[in-house]
């Protein structure tokens, strides 16, 4: 396990470089456009444009820019945001906790609801409970999360007036002040994830429950709860943990839009605004850190997978 962990962690380094390289070349597919975004509709002379572009290093070739950029970002310097006039990393770090709370809470909710519901559906296969959970998960996956967010606002904030419609307070204002502004966003973000996890848990449980060793365990008189929760679940967990990792990446993508709906000052909102304004330094930094979180979670999932399924350690 130690060796596998080491190998897996080392393979992280090239991944980071590939990520950064892709970010650089995708965001700069059209060179020069940040200037257009920066000057907006002002009338600006050609000399001024030249001055700005040499200021930003945009007059150099893309490869030269890349070779300057990569060592800088590897040491954690994404430059200065065009609009915030502050170091990108600083702004990102300020916003980071909000996104982390949102994704981690919805992940917890997803696991707590999705896995048990999936297990329940698998043991009630073909019964009403199974169909009900199928309808629930299909609908959850079909609904756009941002629209669901608005429906939740209409119900819980406008009509019932139980929870605030949007905004954010840091935990310094008190736990409830902080939590109550996260409840609706977390719900909106989780539903699709729960739907996915329910379906995959159900599928992998059914896979396992049909195997002979389960029949054997039942035959020797073990209580059904023990058969399902210990013998079957442990084997199904390998697949389920992969799906949970996948869901997390999906959730990070979705958080971008959810933060926008609920006016949460997180990384996702930052990325959207940077994208609309073509604030490339900000966009690159924001996307890198968001992706980094996804990568770290993936790593954790891989390690969990190897833990649940020892074969991986020796062949992978």
């Amino acid at each position: 396990m130690v060796e596998y962990t080491l190998r897996r962690v080392l393979s992280f380094i090239p991944t980071i470089i590939i990520t950064l390289t892709s970010i650089f070349f995708i965001t700069r597919m059209i060179p020069g456009s940040p200037i257009a975004a920066l000057i907006g509709h002002q009338a600006v002379g050609a000399e001024q444009i030249e001055a700005i572009s040499s200021d930003l290093g945009l007059d150099k070739s893309l490869i030269d820019q890349y070779l300057e950029w990569l060592p800088a970002v590897l040491t954690g310097d994404f430059g200065t945001s065009l609009f915030y006039e502050d170091s990108v990393v600083q702004v990102v770090m300020d916003r980071f906790p909000v996104t982390l709370y949102l994704t981690v809470f919805s992940m917890i909710l997803t696991i707590l609801v999705g896995i048990p519901l999936g297990i329940y559906a698998s043991i009630r296969r073909g019964r009403i409970a199974d169909y009900a959970s199928n309808v629930f998960s299909s609908l959850g996956m079909a609904m756009p999360s941002f629209w669901l967010g608005f429906l939740l606002i209409i119900l819980f904030a406008v009509t019932l007036d139980w929870l605030p419609a949007s905004g954010y307070r840091s935990p310094d204002f008190g736990i409830w002040e902080w939590l109550k502004r996260l409840i609706l966003p977390v719900l909106a973000q989780s539903l699709a994830q729960i739907g996915l996890v329910v379906r995959m848990t159900r599928a992998s449980m059914i896979d396992v429950l049909d195997q002979e060793y389960i029949t054997m365990a039942r035959a020797k008189g073990l209580p059904e709860s023990r058969v399902v929760l210990k013998h079957a679940l442990k084997n199904a967990m390998t697949q389920i943990s992969t799906v949970v990792g996948l869901t997390f990446a999906l959730g990070l993508g979705g958080s971008v839009i959810i933060e926008n709906v609920f006016a949460l000052p997180g990384l996702g909102q930052l990325i959207t605004i940077a994208a609309v304004r073509r604030d490339y330094a900000m966009l690159e930094g924001g996307i890198f850190y968001l992706t980094l979180v996804a990568l770290i979670v993936n790593l954790a999932v891989d390690l969990a997978y190897a833990y649940f399924n020892p074969r991986i350690r020796h062949t992978g």
Binding site: M143, N260, T272, I287
Partner: protein, 289 residues
């Protein structure tokens, strides 16, 4: 090394049992009416989705405006129908492109080892990003427009199709019928696209129908953020974005486009599920995402 023997009829049946299953029918029932109305919108005498009428702002549903009007007095029914056209175009366009590039690069990558190294790195580096974030990044670079949404959905989805196609091709690389075909002098191109690929086409079709659903969601999300189809075009995502300031006063503005997205995506997912079950009942509820 011993050659694998493929019982092609048993192992990869392709979609040949056209006995319709329940999920496929349900999906088609949801989707077809929507698609038909969208395609024939201009013959069905809907109102102009763009015409602004200051005297009929924010009207609730009525006989003249079954889905009400928005804050510019535009007919929500007409905008919903023309919004379906946008989603349909984006979904179809991106999935056609995805099919083309996914199959082409997937086949090449599964067959030629030198290409596999290059294409593999390329797909890996795209799949690092959380999907929607990649879409935002691409839209920020190439600018908001309907065509660019098609491009970015394609870039998002092509790697997955490449992987599926590649896996099936690799599986067949050492099959006996391939050796047999080569022995009688069938060229690489013909072998790959006429003999091998059709056996792998089923999973791709399933993937494309899920991809279509994903495309509808991505288009809506991007447009909602102001990075997709630019307003005043009546895309469902735009309609939700415009409705957000009126959720207290005009519920019809936000519920209708969102409900339409849900119906369309549900229908497409059901079609994908149905196709998958027809393809291989053992795959039920598994894997293809």
């Amino acid at each position: 090394m011993s050659k694998k023997v493929f019982h092609t009829t048993l192992k990869r049946p392709g979609i040949r049992r056209w006995r319709l299953n329940g999920m496929l029918i349900a999906g088609l029932c949801l989707l077809l009416p929507l698609a038909v109305i969208a395609v024939f919108a201009s013959w069905l005498s809907f109102l102009d989705p763009l015409s602004i009428d200051a005297s009929s702002q924010l009207l609730p549903p009525s006989w003249n405006h079954p889905f009400g009007t928005d804050n510019f007095g535009r007919d929500v029914l007409a905008r919903t129908v023309y919004g379906a056209q946008v989603s349909l175009r984006v979904g179809l366009g991106s999935m056609l492109l995805t099919a083309f590039f996914g199959v082409f690069f997937g086949v090449i990558s599964g067959w030629y080892r030198w290409a596999d190294a290059i294409i593999g790195r390329f797909t890996d580096s795209l799949m690092i990003f959380p999907g929607f974030v990649l879409a935002i990044m691409i839209m920020a670079a190439i600018g908001p427009s309907e065509f660019n949404v098609i491009i970015s959905v394609t870039v998002l989805y092509v790697p997955q199709v490449i992987r599926t196609v590649r896996a099936s091709i690799v599986e067949f690389r050492s099959a006996e019928f391939v050796d047999a075909a080569r022995t009688i002098g069938v060229g690489d191109f013909r072998l790959l696209f006429v003999h091998i690929f059709p056996k792998a086409a089923g999973p791709v079709m399933v993937q494309l129908s899920f991809g279509f659903a994903w495309a509808v969601l991505v288009e809506a999300g991007l447009s909602f953020l102001g990075l997709g189809t630019p307003p005043p075009a009546p895309s469902w995502g735009n309609m939700i974005a415009e409705a957000r300031d009126f959720i207290r006063s005009a519920w019809w503005m936000i519920t209708i486009p969102g409900g339409m997205i849900t119906l369309a995506v549900l229908g497409l997912n059901l079609i994908g599920d149905g196709l998958r079950d027809m393809l291989d009942p053992r795959l039920k509820d598994r894997g293809v995402l």
